[in-house]
């Protein structure tokens, strides 16, 4: 079985225009129109990724060595942590997600991107917003809401940027050719419509006309969970629905399953959030509703998982070669693990122990890293060569990136799950002093720092590789870079 990624040919080199080649020219033109904005989103995402990784390492080390550089106000743990979080959420994840989404939209709508400079302006505002927000947090301007720490001046800059970007992405629909809307487009369109909805609702209810008392926490978690599921989750699922069939060259197994998966996801995932407040000072029905929604989320997880699995059936060996496939499939599998963990920690009998432990950190990382970021890495491995006209230079660097990321996130999840469990059990035992619970988790936190080193390596390797691509130092070849050597018979590399 041979890997069948599309080889990139520059339009100029094509002399023989068969039907397939016409399509290829069209694709190349679309890719070219998205080049500047998408690369800008990617480049800024990678810069934020590096910054966020350093902040993460710092956060992690400070947790078990609290005296490390604690005498400077803007380096105190309580500021570094939200800085890390927001850099990752809005700097890395949103940028890379939007870049990917724009490229996918253009491809799937089969339309060139008009006025890419407007998108670039939007991206500029967005990044300015992130920068302002991070500085605000470090200076002590945080708002105190999880995942919404950006002070208002940064939040609105961010939103202006977003409006420019999203309206453009949605407008592409107007120019689309070809009627059936592919499943990926549903997810992307939904993500682009959901984000402003939830962002505006949260900003309004928290800052403009603030709701009373504990409801702020409810609105806060409603937003945070929807950001995770409906924004990042939709972007990642949509991308996976494109990449997996594309790379293996086979249609999605079932359209019906995909439709069921999408609508149940939209319906149930949006109702989650309150389970993060289990047994807090709320009417019990709110939390129960979210817990039930969380359990029902197993339906979309199962349908999406089944769909991907059936699509991939028989083609799993391709993961040996294609970097995109490898990252994407890992991400898609993590989606299942993430959802299952989400159900577990929202059940009251588990939440008793796990609610205030490190397990919730494991949960967030499983969602944002193992699921979302890995799929986005995969997408970048697919898209970037099509934008710069070069192939990734070193298969070995891709492998290092993959394995360091996988072992990093794996170790981190294990450490935080085990440590969180110990911590939670000790915390729930009033006979032990409270510090026993924090002390008992320290060894695991050191292990987590170790995993952070692995991930730092992965990200720097990736950034270096990406930089080579940007500088035009990739390979010039008609065949994509495979992780392991393949010996395709000539003509076996199919363009499609």
């Amino acid at each position: 079985m041979n890997p069948t990624e599309i080889p990139l040919k520059s339009p100029a080199s094509i002399t023989d225009l068969s039907v397939g080649d016409v399509e290829q020219v069209e694709r190349a033109l679309i890719d070219a129109s998205t080049r500047v904005p998408v690369l800008m989103f990617y480049a800024s995402a990678v810069v934020w990724l590096l910054l966020g990784t350093l902040l993460a390492a710092f956060t992690s080390f400070k947790l078990h060595s609290p005296d490390l550089l604690s005498n400077v106000s803007f380096l105190t743990w309580g500021r570094i942590r939200p800085a890390h979080l927001n850099v990752m959420l809005y700097g890395w994840a949103s940028n890379v997600g939007m870049g990917t989404a724009i490229w996918l939209m253009a491809r799937l709508c089969r339309t060139t991107l008009r006025h890419p400079l407007l998108l670039v302006t939007g991206g500029g505002f967005w990044n300015l917003g992130v920068l302002l927000g991070i500085c605000g947090i470090l200076m002590g301007d945080s708002t105190g809401y999880h995942w919404l720490e950006f002070p208002s001046y940064a939040a609105w800059t961010l939103f202006v940027g977003y409006s420019l970007i999203a309206s453009w992405a949605v407008l592409m629909f107007r120019f689309r050719r070809g009627d059936p809307i592919y499943i990926t487009q549903w997810y992307l369109l939904a993500a682009f419509l959901w984000f402003p909805w939830m962002y505006l609702a949260a900003q309004t209810m928290l800052f403009i006309v603030p709701v009373q008392g504990v409801l702020q926490a409810a609105v806060n978690w409603w937003y945070a969970n929807n950001l995770l599921f409906l924004w990042f989750g939709s972007l990642a699922l949509g991308t996976a629905y494109y990449m997996i069939p594309k790379v293996i060259g086979r249609p999605v197994y079932s359209y019906h399953l995909a439709a069921i998966g999408f609508w149940t996801y939209a319906f149930f995932a949006s109702w989650t959030g309150m389970q993060r407040l289990v047994d807090g000072p709320f009417p019990a029905w709110m939390i129960t509703a979210s817990t039930a929604a969380m359990i029902l989320c197993i339906i979309p997880v199962a349908t999406v998982g089944l769909n991907h699995h059936m699509t991939m059936r028989g083609y799993f060996p391709l993961m040996r070669y294609s970097p995109t496939l490898r990252f994407t499939v890992f991400g898609a599998m993590s989606y299942t693990a993430f959802s299952v963990l989400g159900v577990i920690i929202s059940l009251r009998s588990f939440a008793r122990y796990l609610q205030f432990s490190e397990v919730s950190v494991a949960y967030s990382h499983l969602g944002l890293y193992a699921f979302f970021s890995m799929i986005m890495f995969g997408a970048m491995y697919y898209i970037v060569p099509r934008l710069v006209g070069r192939e990734w230079r070193f298969a070995s660097l891709i492998k290092i990136h993959f394995w360091a990321s996988v072992y990093g996130i794996g170790l981190m999840t294990l450490m935080l799950l085990a440590g969180g469990l110990v911590q939670g059990l000790n915390m729930d035992n009033p006979a032990l002093p409270f510090t026993e619970s924090t002390q008992s988790v320290l060894p695991y936190l050191r292990g987590r720092s170790l995993s952070g080193i692995l991930m730092t390596v992965a990200h720097f390797v990736f950034a270096y590789h990406f930089l080579l691509m940007l500088l035009g130092l990739g390979r010039t070849a008609s065949v994509p870079t495979f992780l392991n050597p393949v010996n395709p018979e000539p003509g076996d590399v199919i363009a499609h």
Partner: protein
């Protein structure tokens, strides 16, 4: 889906539905609560916080305290929050809470910092854990024994949030002999004791020992270094004022005493003990050097909220009394900035012990809120 329009409508409708269910309807249900009061309209709870405490909330947020400290007590059937004693508390009654938290507890909070993680203890009732005398202390004149001529500069352990700094008189480290004043905490170890001359400390050590232990029961291992007494200059004069031992058991008034000391011209200087747990002085020392109070603490130090400055004249009333490693050099003192004072004021204001009609309280019958009103503010 066939068309574009149904798709868009469906997308918008699903999120609207969830917003309706999880944000709008709850707002109708618990979004407009009023404070509770008894029949006469007195005994109102909760009340808005003071300006200092509100500013302290901003400091609390700015430095991310809420990432490690929750402010919610879960119900007894859901977790053992209400059974959990505070680590540094000397009295068995200082638990995380008497009852679960309820929406009404937070009606004036903006934002309500419920928290998601407990790398540190829950703080919903941290203000209640403070020694009860805290407020009473101020007015009280303190009996001072000018027993030892104190080095000038000795300062009272500044305990209370607000005592005006400076007391003029050169102090004597006299120790207020047992202060009858307030009863609550046994460890009365003269928290008040401030200025401890360094040499004296050494000398005092043995004698202070017992007191120290009382003071920090929960963490025996923790070195009792943290004395309030910081007066550096005092050190010079090696006095032995250490008489702490003398008033061992009773002086509950720990908190009070610092206060008194502050008020009084001559603070009692006593060998240093840790300040009474959860008093303002304790919070300041804990924020400045957490591991001087609890070796196992995982909290970062917030030294940037404090100012190290030369002692001019005599030491400020609110200087932190640190001994040992963290102590400022001679002639220097560490005083809280305004932000630090606000932060402590905020912490001291966290108290959900007032009974609520809608919540069953473990310790107190909910029926008689007025009666049950805890002394502590």
């Amino acid at each position: 889906m066939k068309g574009f329009t149904p798709l868009v409508l469906g997308i918008l409708a699903t999120l609207a539905f969830s917003w309706l269910g999880l944000a709008y309807i709850p707002d109708l249900q618990i979004g407009h609560l009023d404070p509770q009061s008894d029949e006469e309209g007195t005994d109102i709870y909760p009340m808005p916080k003071s300006g200092m405490a509100e500013r302290g909330r901003r400091v609390y947020i700015a430095n991310g305290c809420f990432y490690c400290h929750s402010e919610q007590v879960r119900a007894d059937y859901a977790a053992s929050d209400v059974d959990r004693p505070r680590d540094a508390a000397s009295s068995p009654t200082a638990k995380w809470g008497d009852r679960r938290s309820a929406p009404r507890d937070y009606i004036f909070d903006r934002p309500a910092l419920l928290g998601k993680m407990r790398m540190g203890p829950d703080l919903a009732n941290i203000g209640k854990a403070a020694p009860a005398e805290e407020e009473a202390a101020l007015p009280q004149p303190s009996p001072v024994n000018p027993a030892n001529p104190a080095p000038p500069g000795a300062s009272p352990a500044a305990a209370n949030t607000s005592p005006p700094p400076g007391k003029a008189a050169p102090q004597q480290n006299a120790k207020p002999p047992a202060q009858p004043s307030t009863p609550t905490s046994p460890d009365g170890a003269p928290p008040a004791a401030n200025a401890t001359p360094a040499p004296a400390n050494a000398a005092a050590e043995p004698s202070s020992k017992p007191a120290a232990q009382q003071a920090t029961p929960p963490a025996p291992g923790a070195p009792p270094p943290a004395v309030n007494a910081s007066a550096p200059p005092a050190n010079a004069a090696g006095q032995q004022n250490a008489k702490p031992a003398t008033q061992p058991p009773n002086p509950p008034a720990a908190a009070a005493s610092p206060a008194q000391a502050a008020a009084a011209p001559s603070p009692a200087a006593s060998p240093s003990e840790s300040p009474v747990p959860y008093s303002a002085a304790w919070h300041h020392q804990h924020l400045y050097a957490p591991r001087s109070l609890n070796l196992d603490s995982d909290m970062p130090a917030y030294k940037f909220l404090y100012e190290k400055r030369r002692v001019g004249g005599e030491q400020s009333a609110d200087a932190i009394n640190l001994r040992g490693e963290g102590a400022p050099g001679e002639g220097w003192e560490i005083v809280p900035t305004y932000d630090a004072k606000c932060l402590v004021a905020y912490l001291m204001s966290l108290n959900q012990s007032h009974p609520l009609n809608e919540v069953k309280s473990a310790a107190l019958p909910a029926a008689s809120p007025a009666a049950a009103k805890p002394a502590a503010k």
